[in-house]
């Protein structure tokens, strides 16, 4: 297992968001977590990135290391887990190139950085065209490209994606998922959370269904797509 999450509990003040959630991912997989708004999808990713604190008793291991011992920036720079946050959260006051450069802040492997940058521009040629533009001036689709490209530049063992399809036109959505497949083929494990369950399950090999902060169902994507409960609740009957 590359990532094992067990008994994950997270609260925001008095409100409990995750109730002992657990799942695991093998290196190289594409896994999705689907669920309704507020079910705890984003919180799960934020807990892995250490942006929110997990409560006592929670257990998260990445490549044999206790994830809970790492600061958020070290999860990225030392463990190689990148996170594309909900709403992209680009640095709108920086150019496209600067956004990509900032993502390499903690890296010293210059040659590899250059190679990774070329890969990003290969996957998303539009970013190369807009290299010196402020990222705030990009279209929604381009912003998503940059958010993924930026995450790719930080570390490439595992990429966490929070609603990558949000706000994208259908065609753009498909090409975004093609790009993610390409990134995955190059060796990056992908964990994405999505409200668009059909899209997510078609893209991922395995899926988990989250309800009220708990995993209620898991399985191969194909099986989940056929599951009557999933069909009823998430695929519109």
């Amino acid at each position: 297992m590359q990532l094992t999450v067990e008994n994950l509990h997270v609260s925001y003040g008095q409100i409990k968001a995750l109730h002992g959630l657990g799942f695991s991912i093998v290196q190289g997989e594409i896994v999705c977590i689907i669920g309704a708004n507020g079910a705890g999808k984003s919180t799960t990713l934020r807990a892995i990135s250490r942006l929110v604190d997990a409560e006592k008793g929670s257990h998260m291991v990445f490549e044999g290391k206790d994830l809970l011992k790492f600061q958020p920036d070290k999860v990225v720079s030392e463990l190689g887990i990148s996170h594309v946050p909900e709403g992209r959260r680009l640095f709108g006051n920086l150019t496209v190139m600067e956004n990509l450069q900032l993502a390499t802040f903690a890296r010293r492997d210059r040659a590899l950085i250059k190679e990774n940058l070329e890969t990003v521009f290969e996957i998303f040629p539009r970013l190369l065209e807009r290299e010196s533009q402020l990222s705030a001036t990009l279209s929604g689709g381009e912003q998503q490209m940059l958010a993924v490209g930026r995450a790719y530049m930080t570390g490439r063992k595992m990429m966490l994606l929070d609603e990558p399809s949000m706000g994208l036109a259908p065609l753009m959505m498909l090409s975004m998922f093609d790009a993610l497949k390409e990134i995955n083929r190059a060796g990056t494990t992908i964990l994405l959370v999505e409200q668009n369950a059909r899209l997510a399950l078609k893209f991922a090999q395995r899926g988990y269904v989250i309800e009220n902060g708990r995993i209620v169902l898991e399985g191969e994507s194909r099986a989940l797509l056929e599951n009557p409960d999933v069909k009823k609740a998430y695929l519109g009957g």
Binding site: S49, H83, P85, R89, F91, T104, F105, A106
Partner: protein
């Protein structure tokens, strides 16, 4: 006309002090959404550190019976005092603000005020009530250009201030740390996801702001040599107003507003009796802020975040 030009030079001099201090407020605000209310007293402490360094250097030169040139004394004093004061800034961040990063902003503000009071009275406790005089680092030369009188010190003060501002600008726009600071000013919650540690960038920002305040203090000491543990209060508050006027978190705005403040003050004093100066000057600024509540370069979104 000569009188006018002379006042322009005075305004530039005061603007230099305000701008150098305002930059520290603005930098810290821009990355942490935090008003560092210790900053005026960091300026004061920096001035005293500058005083100590200059005095020590003069004593050292005397002991070696070497007449150190004034420019070298000034450069060494500024560099060493900036460095030492930056350490103070780092300590204030580490001890005072970091534990409160997730706390309500009011807690941080109150803590900042208290650390400031501790610096003022710590100074008083250690150095006593005796007033110290900043050593005359450079001999004053007065020029008369067509009836406009000005000293070499005034030119030097404005020159050094501008030089430091240009250096800061270069740092922020040309280095990776500067880039991280700019990113943090836009969205500091996402910055760790770039592998950037807030615990590196935050102390660095405090260090730079404090160093600039120390430089401002030394320049101030050159012009007004009598030191006072409470000298940072009024200058600190005025520079804080400059930072707000420039637009919270805007570096360029803080620098420009610092100079504008100098101009408004000096030119108010030209027209009105000196006891009216600050009353009228700050009424004008209040009026400006009524029409531009976010200052010159502030953005509505940055003013709303977490405050």
């Amino acid at each position: 006309m000569a009188f006018f030009l002379q006042n322009v030079i005075n305004a530039l001099q005061w603007g230099s002090f305000y701008a150098l201090i305002a930059l520290g407020y603005s930098m810290v605000y821009s990355i942490l959404m935090l008003f560092n209310f210790t900053h005026g007293d960091i300026f004061m402490t920096g001035t005293y550190i500058g005083f100590g360094v200059a005095t020590a250097l003069v004593a050292l030169a005397t002991a070696l019976s070497w007449s150190m040139p004034g420019w070298l004394l000034l450069v060494l004093t500024i560099i060493i005092a900036m460095f030492l004061t930056s350490i103070l800034g780092v300590v204030v961040e580490r001890v005072g603000y970091r534990p409160l990063r997730e706390a309500p902003r009011a807690s941080a503000a109150i803590t900042g005020l208290m650390i400031g009071i501790m610096l003022e009275y710590g100074n008083l406790a250690i150095l006593g009530t005796q007033r110290y005089n900043f050593p005359s680092i450079i001999e004053t030369v007065t020029y008369d250009v067509g009836g406009v009188f000005f000293t070499n010190k005034k030119i030097l003060i404005v020159g050094v201030a501008l030089l430091l501002m240009i250096a800061l600008h270069q740092f922020i726009h040309k280095t990776r740390w500067g880039m991280a600071m700019r990113a943090m000013s836009y969205d500091f919650q996402v910055v760790p996801l770039m592998g950037v540690s807030l615990n590196v960038i935050a102390p660095m920002t405090f260090a730079i702001g404090s160093a600039l305040a120390a430089a401002g203090g030394i320049l101030y000491g050159m012009a007004y040599p009598v030191l006072d543990p409470f000298m940072g209060i009024l200058l600190g508050w005025k520079s804080f107003v400059a930072a707000i006027l420039g637009g919270r978190g805007s570096i360029l705005g803080a620098a420009l507003a610092g100079f504008l403040l100098g101009f408004i003050e000096i030119f108010t004093a030209m027209v009105f009796p000196s006891t009216f100066r600050d009353l009228i000057a700050y009424s004008i600024i209040l009026l400006i802020l009524t029409f531009r509540p976010y200052g010159f370069f502030g953005q509505a979104h940055s003013a709303q975040l977490r405050l």
